[in-house]
Subunit: 305 residues, 2 copies
């Protein structure tokens, strides 16, 4: 049998910058994986279906509507179709509450999973709830805090398989704006690193969070009137911003059971930062967690069909 | 006599985004004022002289080299020619230390004033030292803190006509990046305001500076899951960032004699914020202070000639 004939359904992680798909068989084994840079951030509503078909066409067969389960920013107001939010506290949403899309191509049956929202301290997530679902598939008894670092890092309090509350930080986006588009771009390297500089800046920000506002321009000045290298500038900028995040989330993580789900490079930086606060963390790669979460959602959807 | 025949010298405030010139007579009376958007940020080194001549040509006469005194980012590494820094503590630099430029046009004799630097807590300024000089021309006995808000706000401790120390904050640039280029752009209005929202956010940031990192994304979420207006978003973003700056500078301003030199709109926001902390401030418009500072520098230069 060809791959297309064995594909039972397709999982899709559609974020702001990237589109990633997994072709799955009926036993939830992975048959193939594809990705493109057609993130939702650059697409008008009528461009979503062509962008999806461009990378899954090879997995589709005539005469059958293959289920396609999507999570992420594709369900935002600026996305393909706006999907609901499920309010916390709640289990991560299953396929039950997915929003069905009227695709033009009869070979696909597309659904977008809900995001999650928090009303009391307003917050939203789209995509990370699927990482939580995948993580809980392997660790159903987990009780503690799950950190999902990225452009917008999310801290989620997990108990009894529910997301109890969560909090979002723009640390990754702030880093990108400051490092690439502000006056600091002249003093912050694109690569390179200095562990000691990271640790010092982290510690300064945690102990005196208000000083971060003063120390940002200091990164530029220290390269003009001192001899600070751009690699030190990069490590210090990262340390200051992550330190401010850790200062704000201290009530979340202090004395807690902690796991990190993220892309390996950024997860390692947070693991190091939290380790320096005496807090060990189990680290998981985000992509397999998302795939596991899509499997959980697909199972939930079948149950309701 | 035509204006050009009466022009004794020309003062220039050449910042990152704008170029502003004042044509002065021998008694330092203002004859004419011109400006353009040819800030140093968009100019290659060989484009500075043409950009300057484009707006001062009408003030020049054949057979004489009119002195042109410049302050601001035009003297930065990325500017026309790099000018020195004078280290604090020091009086604002006079024309003595200006860097002379070999202009191609014989009708101009161009000099760029030094900036100021601080080595211990690395910091730099280019342009604000001329505002300080202008302010001190009217208030020579001032002892206290001078706040110069803007893209990069500067807090300078002034005593005995010297700048003793200073500290720079990227508050204005951070505001612009977050309001116009981050995910918050969907929830922050370009105009409109809400005083109560500004005051609440300011107070939150001053009392719990670390919470600012958490509250930034909350501006987006509150418009998605709540009914927060974009005008409230704008006032809250301003309040959070200025509050973080005031929390960091508290040792600078607490119980101090304070004056603000800035563009009227931004100066009024800081005046209000500091007033809420029980700190009254005298407010001065930045442009006349810069012109007075250039007069002081020109006088200093003549003395040394």
């Amino acid at each position: 049998m060809s791959i297309a004939e064995r594909v039972a359904w397709i999982g899709v992680d559609w974020g702001t910058s990237n589109l990633r798909v997994w072709a799955m068989d009926a036993s939830h084994d992975l048959l193939a994986e594809r990705s493109s840079d057609q993130g939702m951030g650059g697409l008008d509503p009528d461009r979503f279906e062509p962008a999806l078909l461009a990378i899954i066409d090879e997995f589709l067969v005539e005469g059958r509507a293959t289920p396609v389960i999507c999570c992420g920013m594709v369900g935002a107001k600026q996305g393909w179709v706006e999907a609901d939010y499920v309010a916390v506290p709640s289990k991560p949403p299953s396929g039950d509450g997915a929003t069905r899309i009227s695709a033009r191509d009869p070979r696909i049956d597309v659904r977008i999973l809900p995001g999650m929202k928090q009303v009391a301290q307003p917050d939203v997530m789209r995509g990370e709830e699927t990482q939580v679902a995948g993580f809980l598939r392997g660790q159903p008894k987990f009780d503690g805090v799950l950190l999902m670092p990225g452009t917008h890092s999310k801290w989620a309090h997990i108990s009894a398989e529910e997301i109890v509350s969560f909090q979002t930080f723009m640390t990754g986006e702030m880093y990108a704006l400051l490092a690439r588009q502000s006056v600091l771009k002249h003093s912050v390297a694109v690569t390179g690193w200095d562990d000691a500089a990271f640790e010092a800046a982290l510690s300064e920000a945690i102990s005196r969070p208000e000083s971060v506002a003063a120390k940002l321009f200091g990164l530029r000045a220290a390269s003009l009137v001192g001899d600070q290298s751009d690699e030190v500038g990069r490590a210090r900028l990262s340390g200051l911003l992550i330190g401010l995040e850790l200062a704000a989330t201290r009530p979340y993580w202090l004395g807690q059971n902690l796991a990190i789900v993220g892309a390996p490079e950024v997860a390692a930086v947070y693991e190091k930062a939290l380790g320096l606060q005496g807090l060990p963390a189990q680290v998981y790669d985000a992509q397999p967690m998302t795939r596991l979460g899509l499997i959980a959602a697909y199972d939930g959807m079948k149950g309701s069909a």
